[in-house]
Every structure is written in structure tokens, then in C-alpha cells.
Amino acid sequence: MTDPTASTGSLLLRVDDLHVEIAGRDRTVHALDGVSLDLAPGEALGIVGESGCGKTMTALSVLGLLPGGGRITGGSIDFGGTDLATAVEPVLRGVRGNSIGMVFQDPLTSLNPTMTIGAQVAEPLLLHKGLGKAEAWQRAEEMLRLVGLPTPGERLKNYPHQLSGGMRQRVAIAMALICEPQLLIADEPTTALDVTTQAQILELIDDLRSRLGMALILVTHDLGVIARRVDRVAVMYAGKTVERAGVRTLFAAPRHRYTQALFAALPERAADESQPLATIPGLPPSLVTRPAGCRFAPRCGFATGECRETEPALSEVVPPLPAASRNGDSAPAPGPRTAPHGPATGDTPEGRAGAARRGAHAFACFHPVDPAVDPIAEVVPAAPAAPPSRADETLLALTDVTKDYPLHSNPFALRGRSAAAVVSAVAGVSLTVRRGETFGIVGESGCGKSTLGRLVVGMEEPTRGTVRFADRDIAALDRRALRAHRREVQLMFQDSYASMDPRMRVGAILREPLVIQGIGDRAGQNARIAGLLDDVGLPRGAVDRYPHEFSGGQRQRLGLARALALSPSLVVADEPVSALDVSVQAQILNLMRDLQREKGLAYLFISHDLAVVRHLADTVGVMYLGKLVETGPAASVFDAPLHPYTRGLLDTAEQPDPAAEAAGAPLGGETPSAAHPPSGCRFRTRCPAAQEICARIEPAPAEPAAPGHRVACHFPLVAAAGR
């Protein structure tokens, strides 16, 4: 593993066998346990892995920004001849923000709320470049213009809360790049953002990288994000680098069993929507102890005794060339395409000695995937799917449902006087959900999809329109009938932990709905709880434990168990998997699907993630600014969208495929404020096909292509839909 040339040569950064420990109150976590990676000037490296694998710790150690109690216990971080692992604070301060810039995940919390944008962006210049305030602010303005902030001169005096999430992330990028660093480290820079904003930010980083000739480390859990944005990828698992390769090689032919399983769990890679997703059983190991052998062995279907005792070293593939070509697909040979050097270097273009060695495919696995065999098919044998049992009976019908919220809450305002100032979170939505089907609602944040979910459950009353469930108007129900109705419709939340009382045991949490509805005696309830835990795949002993003792995926199972406690016929699932890692997400999606078939459940599945909705939903509704712009069978909506917004969303979503064509027309701009929606068609301000009529007349829903596929657009994409 050690570089025989030993010198940094043309490398910008070289992390070698890095070890990091984080000392807590009563235990020490070995967060990093042998991480090695390198980066040439101008090159882009992706670090992927699930939460807790150490990818963020790797990024933070490079800048010496480890959290309290954290320290580097071994290895080196060579950056331009300086070992940052052992450097003293003043040296590190000279590097931070100057030659290495960093962008963090959450643009809301990573900016100082009480400092102006200008002061924050100019700060590194004052520190590192010795500029005066006036000059620094002028440079800050130029930088804000470069990152695409409209009217940057005015924005300088704004505070972070006055900008949208996407704009804040642009500011954070401006801040990281103001001193023109040689390396930008971006830690999940788009995870907190919407799909369309994500695409814009990634595009911006790409563009600035080539313009400023800097190197990039992109840390993410999202394989879609790195697919088309980096040259090489390092896959991390449990504090170690387990695989390293050029991005095309890795995506076409992963060799480590973990990487392979990670890909297989992606809903985008699911062979067939009717098949369950491949999952990775179990959980990543605790890093408090340093397990012997391969750390993935306990979850790996191919592990042998050797894997459990001996730790596989990260070693390179001996013949690098035939690996991909044997694969039979269109993946190019790893040589030229994965050459690690970006346009900025070019000293050793496709030099065999240096570049080929560094670009080589390395992995730490005793039983690697044989690229000759289709890697995905052999992961976990998929259980044969039972045919979905779906009646044509309408379970839920929303007719022209509108929900208004007052814009300003003023206790002294006279009722009705401020009626003009309202936000229509949901503005005239009609849809029907049949018994036993999954209706997916897709849309970006603020489109009203969560409000719609609350209206269906009866937690909110519609301002106008009716919500009918099993042919009864919910608004007309009296208290007793409403309570009975609540049995039928249950909620599943994104953050199950926040939605459970942390001081209640699991048994009590699951019993509560039964007690409220007066179902069964104590023994009957106990039997029901045991049955629920069986259903969601948790041990029965879980009843005596507290929510915090469970992992994210297990909590989501609990959330599902609680939703199912009353045997509802409809479960409203609001982003149930968006806080989960890919492998765990696949487990929950499979579980939801199995239980649906078993119990004839209907789901109203709300998500921003197109791939997840596509995998699970029978029918899809696309929401934009409180309006349902398109509904129809999932296959028609995704394969032949009629609304330009749907088309744009699909084009904008990051495909986990480096060979994917660059998106046709990614959506530009930002969603306008729901308080002042555009006249006519609400999407017209971002629509490539918008004409004068769109501003005047709101398009009525129609079915121009096929019955059951409704779209509200003056110029539906019927031709494009394959007529």
C-alpha cells in the first residue's frame, strides 16, 4: 500500500493509513481505522458510504476540525508537503479557508444567523489575504456573482435567513472559494436541498472547479450525486476504505461485496418494480471495539472463516484492463476515461506508470465480485412476489381540497380583516386512492404534500373542498365517528424518533392506540403487540426497551408497527425512508410492500425521491405549489410525463450512473413563494414552454394522452409521450 516513490510528486493530497479516535464520556470510538486516499491537483474524488462509516470524519480530519474529544492517532495527511495530521493549530489555520475550502451539509445552520452575508464571505480574505474591508467586500460581491446569486451587491447586506436554502448554499460555496483554494471539500453539500436545487448546486461546483482549476472531495451517501461529478471514488465502510476506483469502473463493476450490495439496494437499479429490493441484512458494526477480520463479514453472504479472522488489505487489481471489457456492457476500459487528472494538470496525461497505478481499482475483499457474472443478480435471492391484490373500490376521494393558512398571526387583528393574507398550502387538489393501492405524492419542499397528508388523516380541516373516506365526508363526522375513523387512517413519519415519546417503552407506545380505541383486554393487547413486532421484523423482547435503543431503520419499523396497530386500511407515510441509508431504506420499502400485500393496505406515500416513489407506487401525483399538476399510473407518469414540471424533475434527478446522458433540460430557478403564487399556471415562471395564455388562464385538468393520466397544462407533452 505504501507508495514506492514516497514523494508527493504531482499529488495534491495524500492521506495514508489515517486513524482517528473520538473519546466520549465512557467510551472511545475508533471513527477512522486505516483510511488511505490521494488526490491530484484539479482532480475530483468522491467519498461514499453510509452514515457512521467515517466519511465526514475523514473530511474533517484533513482540516483539523475534528469534534471535541477527537484526535488523530496514526497515519499522515500530506498536503503540499505539510503533514496536516501533526501540524500545529496556527499552521492549520493558515490552510483552512485559504488553500482548502469546505462546504457543509446544512446551509441554514452553517452560516452565522446574526452576521451579514458580506461580512461572512469577506472574512477569509481579511484573515488570509490581508485585504482591507472595502476591497474584501468588493471581492465578496464578485464571488457572489460568480456563484450565481442575483443582485449580489444588495445581498451583501442581507442576513442568512433572508435567503432560500439554495441561495444560502451558494453563499457557503462563495465563502469556501473566496481565497481560491487548491482543494474544495464538500460534505453532503446538497443533502438538505431539493432535487432541482441540488442539480443547480452540483452544476455550480462542477463549473467552478473547471474554471478555478481546483481539486474536489465530494463526500456523500448518495450514489446518484457522485456518479457524474467525480473522477474517482473511495467507498468507506466502518472507518475503512474498502474500495477505490475510477468512477466508471466502480459503477460498472464494483468488486467489494459491500459496494456491490450498496448498488443492488438502489431503487433505481431494481430489476423490476414488482420485485423486492436487494437489502443488506443487519447493521454496520459498532466502532467502539475494533472487530477482527473484515468488518463487512457479519453482513456479507459470501463471508468465510477467513473473512472473520483475517483482515483483507486494500490491494489493487493486477490486470486492470480486461476487468470492465469482460463485463459486456458499454463501460469503457478504465485506462483513459478514468485517468485521474483533470484538465488543470496534464503533466502525465495517460501516463501508464503514475496515472494507471493511482487510477487502479483497489479493494479489500477476499471474495470479490467476479465481473464476468452479473453482479446484481447474485446478491440476495429475491423472494417471488405475490401478485398485488387490488380492488377497484375507492377508499379515499379528495375533491377540490384547499387548505389556507393565515400569513400573519396577529392577536389584535379583527377576524376576517386580514383574510387576504393567506397561504394556500394546498390549492384545489382532487384525487382518489383505491383500496390496496399505493398512491405516491411527489414534489419539492413547500409544495404542500405534507399538508395534504395531514388533511387526509384528519389532523387539519380543509378550508374548502371535501375529503371522503369510504364514502363518508370526514368533515361531517361527529366526535365519536371521527375517533372510529382514526382507526382506519394512520400516519407514518419521516423522523420516527422525534415522533415517539422518549420516556415510553416500546410496549407502551404500541399499546397506546389500542387503549385509546378500547380494543381488547390486556392479554389481547399483548398478543396484538407481539404480532405487530413479528410483522415488522423486530424481536418481541423489544417491548421493554426505549426508542433511543434502536437504530434508525429499527425505529422506522416501530413507526410502521404503531401505524398498523389499529389495522388501518390506509397509511399516510410522509417521507418514511428519506432519513435512512440506502441499504436500510431498501429493507423498509420491502417491508412496507410485503405488509401491503398481506393486509390489503393502501398507502399515501409522500416523498421527494422520485426513484423511491417509482419503485413503490401504483399511481403517482406530482405536486407543485399546492397544485396537483399531473396524476396517473406510475409507469405512464415516469416514462411519458405530460407536464413540463414532471419532465423537468425527471431530467434533474441525479442518476446513479456515470454513463447517463446529461439531463435534457434540468429545471432552473426556484419555486416562487406560495404566498404570492404566479397567476394562471403556477409553474409558468419556470416552464420552458410557457406562453402568454399560461399567465392568464389556469389550466384545467385534462386527459390528453390516455384515460386515467391527467395533467393540468395548456401545452402538455403529448407528442413527446410517444403519440
Binding site: 482540516l63 476540525l65 489555520r93 493558515g94 490552510v95 483552512r96 479557508g97 485559504n98 475550502g101 469546505m102 457543509f104 446544512d106 445552520t109 452553517s110 452560516l111 452565522n112 444567523p113 446574526t114 452576521m115 472574512e123 477569509p124 484573515l127 488570509h128 442576513y159 435567513h161 433572508q162 457557503a172 465563502m175 469556501a176
Partner: protein, 316 residues
């Protein structure tokens, strides 16, 4: 910002009107009415009636309130039964002196508590933090009168560093000219406040040090000291602004004990003496002033919030 201030001031005026109603009602709830309080239990019913008529107490309550309010607006708070002076002249003489005392106490508290809180947060879990935490709890738990006595015993009687009596000058300038005399009363008032403020400051700084914007500032290459000064301080002062507003009326009441203990010629001492002699117009005048102080305290909080936190400014 201007609109915000106008709005808040208008709200404060409403609250003050309510305070005046309460004070007015209290004035009329005195056992036997003010006549009995002044003329004494042995006065004849005729004398009481005559007094009531003379003072206008036999008219309808709303009318009396309007007249009371009218007098209030012209600054007429009635006359002291005992001191042969108008209440307003008494208050205008005494209030500035109390303001000097509380102002100095708050200034001392802020000057000491903010750095102490920062020090504790930076040295969290180390000896300095534990020591200061212990001292803060001790100071916070000690009643003001006991603290005052201990300070007098140690610094005045034993060490003879400072006089046990506060400055007795007639003017504010004269009082400020006698700084040694001010030391013990101001310190007595300030110690508990320092304890409370430093605890709040400590936790506010700790909260902010854990925020991600601090990590961003470090990633820019900023030093710890400058992160504290440029980034954390302002954010950490926001919760302290609430505390300051809450403490202002408390300090006014605390002045009562301290002023009578050190014989300081402020409003507290005036109230104390008036209470001893059932001098109701004075008592109610002081009550009104404390009510005003409470309202002003929350107004100051709101303004401080708006100055410190741009998010509040744009919402309002």
C-alpha cells in the same frame, strides 16, 4: 425597525394603562377608604364624609378613574400624608438615586458576568468552571439582606475598607462623588445578578459553540478567540437580553432591602418608610413606578432582541 419600535411602544402604553387601573383599584380597596387611613379609626362619620367629599371620593368610580388618570397625565400623583410633599416631587427626587444604584449594579453585573460566563464555557469541566459554578450557586442562594450584613461586617467593620452607610448627598452628582460609599450597596445588589447572568452566559456560549456556524468559522481559518468575539458573543447575548428585562423590576424591588440596609436615600427607602407609616399615596406612586419599570424592562428586551437578532427585526 422604526415601525417595530412604534408598535412595541404602543403595546407598552396599553400595558401601562392597565397598570394604572390596578393601582387605582388598590387605592380604593384600602380598609375604610383613604379617609380612615388618614383621619384614623376615631374620626367621626361626618369628618370622614367631609373628607371624602373634599377629595372627590363620593363620585362614581369611572368618573374618579378618569379624574385620576387626568391627574396622572399631568404628573400629579397626590400628596404624601406624612411628608407634606407631593408624591411626584418625592419620586423625582428619589428615583434618579435608585436608578444610579440599579444602573451601577447592572453595569457591574454585565461587565463581570459576560466574561465569567465565557471563561466557564471555554474551560468547561475544568477546575475554573467548577469553582465559578460553586461560587455562583452560593451567591445566588444567599439572601440579599444576609449578604449585605456579611459584607458590612467584613469590609466595613473588620477591614474598614468601605463605609457601612451609603452616600447621603442630595444630588446624584454628590452621590457619584462618594464612590467608596457606593461600593457595598452596589456589590450587594450585583452579586446575585452576576451569579444568574454568568450561568446563563455560560450555557448560551456552550450552546453556540456547538453550532455549525462555529465550525464554518473554524474552517475559514479563524482563531478561537476571534470566533468568540466576532461570531459567538452576539448570538450568546440574545438570551441574556431576556434575562435583563426580567431582572430590571426585580432589581427595583431589591433596592428596597439594600437601600434600607445602607440607608440610601432612594425610592426603596422611601417605600420602606411610607409602608411603616401607611402613607398610601407614596406607596401607590412607587408601585406605579415599578410597574412602569417592568414595562420598560420588557421594552428594552424587545429592542435588544431586535438589535442583536436580525431575524426578529424582519419578522416584525
Amino acid at each position: 425597525m422604526i415601525r417595530f419600535l412604534i408598535k412595541r411602544t404602543a403595546q407598552a402604553a396599553v400595558v401601562l394603562l392597565l397598570v394604572s387601573v390596578i393601582v387605582f383599584v388598590l387605592l380604593h380597596q384600602l380598609p375604610g377608604g383613604p379617609a380612615r387611613a388618614i383621619l384614623g379609626p376615631k374620626a367621626t362619620p361626618q369628618a370622614v364624609e367631609h373628607f371624602n367629599h373634599q377629595q372627590g371620593y363620593d363620585r362614581s368610580l369611572p368618573l374618579q378613574y378618569v379624574q385620576y388618570l387626568g391627574r396622572l397625565l399631568t404628573g400629579d400623583l397626590g400628596e404624601s400624608y406624612k411628608l407634606n410633599q407631593t408624591v411626584s416631587s418625592l419620586l423625582s427626587d428619589r428615583l434618579p438615586k435608585t436608578l444610579v444604584l440599579t444602573g451601577l449594579a447592572i453595569a457591574l453585573a454585565a461587565v463581570l458576568a459576560i466574561p465569567l460566563g465565557i471563561l466557564q464555557a471555554v474551560r468547561r469541566g475544568r477546575a475554573a468552571d467548577y469553582l465559578l459554578t460553586g461560587l455562583a450557586f452560593l451567591a445566588y442562594a444567599t439572601p440579599v439582606f444576609f449578604l449585605g450584613l456579611v459584607l458590612i461586617l467584613v469590609f466595613s467593620q473588620r477591614l474598614q475598607l468601605f463605609p457601612a452607610e451609603a452616600p447621603q448627598a442630595d444630588t446624584v452628582g454628590g452621590i457619584l462623588g462618594d464612590l467608596p460609599g457606593l461600593v457595598l450597596p452596589v456589590v450587594t445588589m450585583a452579586l446575585g445578578v452576576i451569579a444568574a447572568f454568568s450561568r446563563y452566559m455560560r450555557s448560551a456560549v456552550l450552546d453556540n459553540l456547538g453550532e455549525e456556524y462555529v465550525r464554518t468559522a473554524r474552517a475559514k481559518g479563524q482563531s478561537s478567540a476571534r470566533i468568540m468575539a466576532r461570531h459567538v458573543l452576539r448570538n450568546a447575548l440574545i438570551p441574556l437580553a431576556t434575562l435583563l428585562g426580567l431582572y430590571l423590576p426585580t432589581l427595583f424591588s431589591g433596592a428596597l432591602v439594600v437601600e434600607s440596609m445602607f440607608n440610601y436615600p432612594g425610592m426603596g427607602l422611601l417605600f420602606w418608610n411610607a409602608a411603616q407609616g401607611s402613607d398610601f399615596p407614596v406607596l401607590l406612586g412607587v408601585t406605579l413606578v415599578v410597574g412602569v419599570a417592568t414595562v420598560i424592562g420588557s421594552l428594552i428586551t424587545d429592542i435588544a432582541y431586535a438589535v442583536l437578532d436580525p431575524r426578529i427585526r424582519s419578522v416584525s
